[in-house]
Symmetry: C2
Subunit: 213 residues, 2 copies
């Protein structure tokens, strides 16, 4: 499979393909043309063919795509078959919500630890995992080598904790804190800036209001 | 201010400008050149000038931008001065986390109600607001006219609740459920697809792992 120099725009679309293919599978659809898939997803058929060609292409001319095969291959491209070990740092409401998010386990992510600096949370069980104190995180990471750390921390703590985890060998950081992280090369980072999303919604709303006068 | 036909890419950058300008203000920086702002944000100076020109421009040649003025103007463009009334539908962990998110109030959003279908949550107080039953949402919305509904609901409920709220006049939907909403024109929607973000991180991680062999 050729995966060199795939553009960030295509990468952003991969989870969407995976999502739509999963929904089709759930409805018992076994085969789909790029045209039908394009109508469903609201992108052009040639876009879909181009995107999938980045990964070697999966369609047979005139036969459309095998939905199950494409779903499995997409999952592999996204690394969902690698069983990435994941920890959550921060067991507040957001950390709890993420720990209980049913999709993550379904997508193949393996939650192995939850940590918090607040002693009143230590010992509590969330989705079968006991919250441990942040002080014990270092030895846990050294022993268990998680691939991904989910940071559901206050902004004041996130830069320090992210760098600490990266030094311990964690290569994937999913950051929910406001602000941008400055981390060394060779670390994969995804930021979920909730405030940015709400502000974008607010902007769209002002446009609607102003258009209506 | 000319705000016609601003491209979605520029719109996506607006909250980032607001965020960086707020940080500069917090550090007491009163004036910044487009060059310094571009270094800070990792975009080109000409990009910044182009972006801001979409809104009439704010810089004086050779003097740079007045940080406080630009921050305030950006806030107005984003609608943060409109005091949008907001409700949260779904008082589980995610709904709770969003209700307690300190940034939302700071950004000018006015949380006026929280609803859940689970009777065991009704009557509980979250950040000073008492959770009400979903059955009472209709009369609440008719009486109080919230602008934005934050949907922290299971996927099975979200399409129904979103359409119900839109019929009642809610014009802004912030959706946290997996899947895409099908809503009429004239409604502003922002989706936060957490699983998509995690899968994107996973993809980046596979690329790092495979590059290292």
């Amino acid at each position: 499979m050729k995966e060199k120099s795939v553009s960030p725009v295509v990468i952003k679309r991969l989870p969407r393909y995976y999502r739509y293919l999963g929904e089709l599978l759930g409805k018992g659809v076994l085969r789909i043309s790029s045209k039908d898939l394009s109508n469903l997803m609201g992108v052009t058929a040639s876009q879909i063919r181009q995107d999938l060609n980045c990964f070697g292409g999966f369609g047979q001319q005139g036969y459309g795509y095998n939905v199950e095969l494409l779903h499995t291959e997409m999952g592999a491209i996204l690394g969902l078959d690698r069983g990435y070990k994941t920890i959550i740092v921060g067991a507040g409401n957001l950390g709890k919500a993420l720990a209980k998010h049913s999709n993550f386990r379904k997508r193949g992510f393996n939650l192995i630890g939850i940590f918090d600096a607040d002693k009143s949370l230590v010992g509590k069980e969330i989705n079968g995992i006991t919250v441990e104190h942040s002080d014990d995180m270092e030895s846990f990471v050294k022993a268990n080598h998680p691939h991904i750390a989910i940071l559901a921390l206050p902004k004041s703590a996130v830069e320090y904790e992210a760098n600490r985890l990266v030094k311990l060998g964690v290569k994937g950081i999913w950051n929910f804190s406001y602000g941008e992280l400055h981390l060394p090369d060779g670390v994969a980072v995804e930021n979920v800036h909730l405030s940015d999303s709400l502000m974008t919604l607010s902007y769209k709303l002002t446009q609607l209001e102003d258009a209506e006068g």
